[in-house]
């Protein structure tokens, strides 16, 4: 243990960024998708071409997805500057100006992290910028700033201090007590108090116990866990190791969905690195405490995010949930007491132990403590990953942090909690984000996906979208979910296609209520939420589809009607040529007409018309 301390001190001295400039490219999944690898190659080429002595490395997602690819440029003793939307074409200028001449390219710079250095003028400083000002970064504190594949950087930035403290000075009971004081609740959705869960597993009789990390982040619109796994895998591993010590387990599993290859790769590297340095495996830090950690890759089933289905999947069976009780704390993996938490929950643990439960509890609201990571997506200006204190309002998140709606359109709804969540309208924007408030409003905290919708989003279509998802992901075990999601989807599809009847709404509501009350697992019990919340807040949109055969957001194709304004039409014929169905006719230089019987409502004509003569109703 003394070795670890000394090693950390040595690393910390080294890591005062040396005497060479460094270039760091965001290479998480979204960074790569946005072209990070090409930028990296261009940087390498440029540096080689000029024969410069520069370190090039990679990091993870800093959270500003809207600006990927992101490159950090740091000169010795100067602030770290982050550039967004970097293209290979911009690379030469960036190197020339910033690396060689020492002058940041201000118009491309997003933000700077100055530390002890004097900030550059004209570039927002990270704490205090509009995007970061309201954020409190705990579990995301290393994201985008350190190399996630380096155990050295993890330790230099305070990693494994918590495990050191736990193994050196704390009893398992004290660890659990500290977590209880922090008020940490499960970040996977249901919000069960973590300390209490740990104490149940600790108290359960049995010699063999497991800790399991639920990294099967399957909600569409959610990538918090992926970002943490890709950006700070060691924090999750350290958190699990502490949990294992607290509950008396010597073996653990991380169940990560197979769609996250980079996260799995980084976890594997991290587990190997930690094992090599005696931070995992036999006799950790020479204290006699053993903990083996394995990775299980999921195989593509959303329902495996449900804890009993997840356990069944680790055991090699279909991911069909079973009835609880018995809870996994009593009978979990292979019938042994098992503690299951999600990625973000474990990632919080080292910070809580290091800074104390009181510190964590000082953030957030009375019942929801600490911070929460959210993924902002949909029709907002700044999509990305943010971490905010509990209790912040939706309005602050959407308008202050994310900059409001794309193209300054009208906000319509925010969907929180994925397929289990609900859609909240404008008048709920001042709701504080905490477990109880969101549930009361008909949404849920869920894992933290937040999809913003504008005036061009049809709420019936959104409900149909989610039911399409849950219907495809239903495991098939219980009647209400297997058959009920199918029928709800059919009704919603009918309404979207203009075939709905008013009595469908009653049927839909009753069915949704019954499924919610009777389904076996969390997936089934919550899958009606998108329907119930849209029916509650946007019933008028349903009625417009049914009574007026009209989609107010112009989304539901079957209900669209394209017409040509004879007054504006110049008879150029561009629309007729674009029409794949041959539905448009008219003499040259004469107003054209659309035959509604032939029109397939693809919208090609409208895109082609230069005179704004075609309208969609």
């Amino acid at each position: 243990m003394q070795d670890l301390k000394e090693w950390r001190e040595t690393l910390q001295q080294q890591s005062h960024r040396g005497d060479r400039p460094s270039l760091t490219v965001g290479m998480s999944t979204c960074g790569q998708a946005a072209g990070g690898a090409k930028v990296m190659a261009a940087l390498e080429e440029e540096i080689a071409r000029r024969g410069l002595q520069v370190d090039i490395s990679q990091t993870s997602c800093i959270g500003m997805c809207y600006a990927e690819p992101i490159v950090e440029v740091a000169l010795p003793g100067k602030p770290r500057v982050f550039y967004g939307d970097v293209t290979p074409e911009r690379v030469p200028t960036l190197v020339e100006k910033h690396v060689l001449q020492g002058e940041p390219v201000r118009e491309w710079a997003l933000i700077q992290l100055s530390g002890e250095a004097t900030p550059y003028e004209g570039i927002p400083v990270m704490p205090g910028s509009t995007y970061y000002g309201r954020q409190v970064r705990v579990v995301t504190s290393r994201l985008g700033l350190t190399n996630p594949e380096s155990l050295e950087e993890y330790i230099a930035t305070g990693g494994y201090e918590a495990l050191e403290k736990v193994l050196g000075q704390m009893t398992p009971e004290q660890v659990i007590e500290e977590i209880k004081i922090s008020g940490l609740r499960g970040r996977g959705g249901a919000g069960f108090p973590t300390g209490l869960k740990w104490s149940f597993t600790r108290q359960a009789p049995g010699d063999k116990k497991y800790v399991v990390c639920n990294a099967d982040e399957g909600d569409p619109g959610a990538f918090m866990d992926r970002s943490v796994l890709e950006g700070d895998p060691f924090s999750v591993i350290e958190g699990m190791t502490i949990a294992a010590y607290a509950i008396g387990a010597d073996e653990g599993y991380i169940y990560c969905r197979a769609e996250y290859p980079l996260a799995i790769k980084r976890l594997k590297m991290a587990i190997a690195a930690a094992g090599e340095k005696g931070l995992l495996g036999r006799d950790i830090l020479g204290t006699g405490f053993n903990f083996d950690l394995h990775i299980k890759a999921g195989a593509g089933a959303f329902v495996c995010g449900e804890e009993t289905a997840l356990l069944a999947s680790i055991e090699g069976r279909q991911g069909m949930p079973r009835v609880r009780p018995p809870f996994p704390a009593q009978q979990g993996l292979w019938g042994k007491p098992t503690n299951i938490n999600n990625v973000e929950t474990y990632a919080n643990v080292p910070f809580i132990i290091k800074n104390g439960g009181q510190w964590f509890a000082s953030m957030g609201t009375e019942k929801s403590k600490g911070t929460k990571v959210f993924c902002l997506t949909g029709k907002i200006k700044k999509t990305g990953l943010i971490e905010v204190p509990m209790g912040i309002t939706l309005r602050e998140i959407i308008f202050d942090i994310a900059g409001g709606i794309q193209d300054d359109k009208q906000f319509k709804a925010v969907q929180i909690g994925g397929p289990s969540g609900g859609c909240l309208p404008e008048d709920k924007l001042d709701l504080p984000v905490d477990y109880e408030s969101l549930t009361a409003a008909g949404a849920i905290m869920g894992s933290g996906g937040m999809v913003v919708m504008d005036e061009n989003t049809c709420m019936v279509d959104v409900a149909r979208f989610f039911l399409n998802f849950t219907q495809a992901e239903s495991c098939g075990k219980c009647t209400p979910c297997r058959e009920g999601t199918k029928r709800m989807l059919e009704i919603l599809t009918r309404i979207c296609e203009g075939e709905g009847r008013m009595e469908d709404l009653d049927t839909l509501e009753t069915l949704a209520r019954v499924v919610k009350n009777t389904a076996l697992c969390g997936l089934g019990q919550t899958c009606p939420n998108p329907i119930l919340s849209t029916l509650q807040y946007f019933r008028h949109e349903y009625e417009a589809h049914i009574k007026d055969k009209r989609c107010p957001a112009h989304v539901c194709q079957a209900l669209l009607v394209y017409t040509i304004d004879a007054g504006k039409c110049t008879g150029c014929g561009a629309c007729a040529r674009a029409c794949p169905a041959g539905a448009i006719s008219g003499e040259k230089k004469q107003p054209h007409r659309i035959d509604p019987a032939l029109c397939i409502k693809c919208g090609s004509c409208m895109e082609k018309c230069k005179f704004g003569a075609i309208s969609r109703l």
Partner: protein, 357 residues
């Protein structure tokens, strides 16, 4: 185990701890419908028809997998419960053929009975229905997966009783089906032994005995309890008969013997009863051995003849010239008597058995 007192529908009930709410209700004459539940199989909790309202619990828990607790207050027929059960039946019927008119299960079908009980017509939803081909490529069982409600009893019987694991759930969600590997038929799987216990537990008409199709409606059948003659186990049978014709054989639930389960012979081998080759009277050979000529005799004559011949052989050649070969189809008592007779009366140890090797 300690006792627990709870209230079900206003009635105070005391049952041993660990009992399920369903069992507690049924033991006290309170009706709760079930489709996937079978007390002899592992609980499943999938059909959700047995949901009840329990004070202080979220939603409507399934009573078959909820254990009783001290002071628990249960409602089995509240408006919310009835609404949920009706909806569950509507959902099942929405994906179920409407051929009760000709379905062999009619009259003994749980789905039909519950739909009648709750007045559910099955006309609330009109959407996609399964369209699987009928599986009737084997001589014993007809599988109509369109009628399957995915209660999984057949899977559990195959795994837990027969321990053969031929079938399992495959695919997922709405497309879930019960099937042998590779979506083969039971026959093609080459693993099924056709014990037919799956047919016996099927609550609907998805599984049926092939030979019983079109042989009689449920209410026309006379049920006769008897013992299987195929082996010494003596499984209890319930034979359904119409007009002196055996329509089907099922196991009778006698926990001392076979708990209702049967093997392929007992269940599907009853056709011997009506075979023209069946010997129904004692026969005494006339003419030479191998010639195959016999005449009918009375039991008295046949027994006298046998006793006389045994005596003659014993006197002439000694006891060791006589041997007895017994049968696995006899009961233990019969086999005991046989060896006793040979040892005490004939005076030999020449006793053997067809199933010895």
């Amino acid at each position: 185990m300690a006792d627990v007192t709870l209230t079900i529908d206003g009635k105070r009930i005391t049952v041993p701890a660990g009992t399920t709410v369903l069992q507690a209700a049924r033991d006290n004459g309170i009706f709760i419908p079930t489709l996937c539940h079978d007390p002899k199989l592992t609980p499943w909790g999938g059909c959700r028809l047995c949901v009840v309202e329990i004070e202080g619990m979220r939603g409507l828990p399934a009573s078959c997998v909820t254990t009783v607790a001290e002071g628990m207050v249960v409602q089995t027929a509240s408006p919310q419960v009835v609404e949920a059960r009706k909806m569950m039946l509507e959902l099942l019927l929405a994906n179920h053929p409407r051929d009760c008119l000709t379905c062999s299960k009619s009259g003994a079908c749980s789905l039909q009975d519950y739909a009648y009980y709750y007045g559910v017509r099955g006309d609330k939803f009109h959407g996609e229905k399964h369209d699987y081909p009928l599986e009737d490529d084997n001589p014993f069982i007809v599988r109509d997966m369109n009628k399957c409600i995915l209660c999984g009893k057949c899977i559990r019987v195959c795994a837990e009783v027969q321990v053969n694991n031929v079938i399992d759930f495959a695919h997922r969600g709405f497309n879930t089906r019960v099937t042998p590997a590779m979506d083969l038929t039971l026959r093609e799987s080459e693993e099924c032994v056709f014990c037919g216990n799956c047919v016996q537990v099927c609550p609907v008409g998805a599984l049926a005995e092939k030979a019983s199709l079109w042989q009689g409606r449920e209410w026309e059948l006379t049920k006769v309890r008897t013992t299987c003659t195929f082996c010494g186990v003596g499984c209890n049978l319930e034979v359904s008969v119409k007009d002196d014709h055996v329509v089907r054989v099922r196991g009778y639930d006698n926990p001392l013997v076979n708990s209702g389960w049967l093997c392929v012979k007992g269940r599907f081998g009853a056709d011997f009863a009506e075979s023209p080759d069946r010997i129904t009277r004692p026969l005494i050979r006339v003419g030479e051995r191998g010639e195959g000529r016999f005449r009918e005799a009375t039991w008295d004559e046949a027994l006298d003849y046998t006793a006389r011949r045994l005596q003659e052989i014993k006197e002439q050649y000694g006891s060791r010239a006589i041997a007895a070969l017994s049968s696995a189809r006899c009961t233990n008592e019969e086999n005991y008597l046989m060896q006793k007779f040979m040892r005490a009366v004939i005076g030999t140890n020449n006793v053997d058995h067809c199933a010895r090797t």
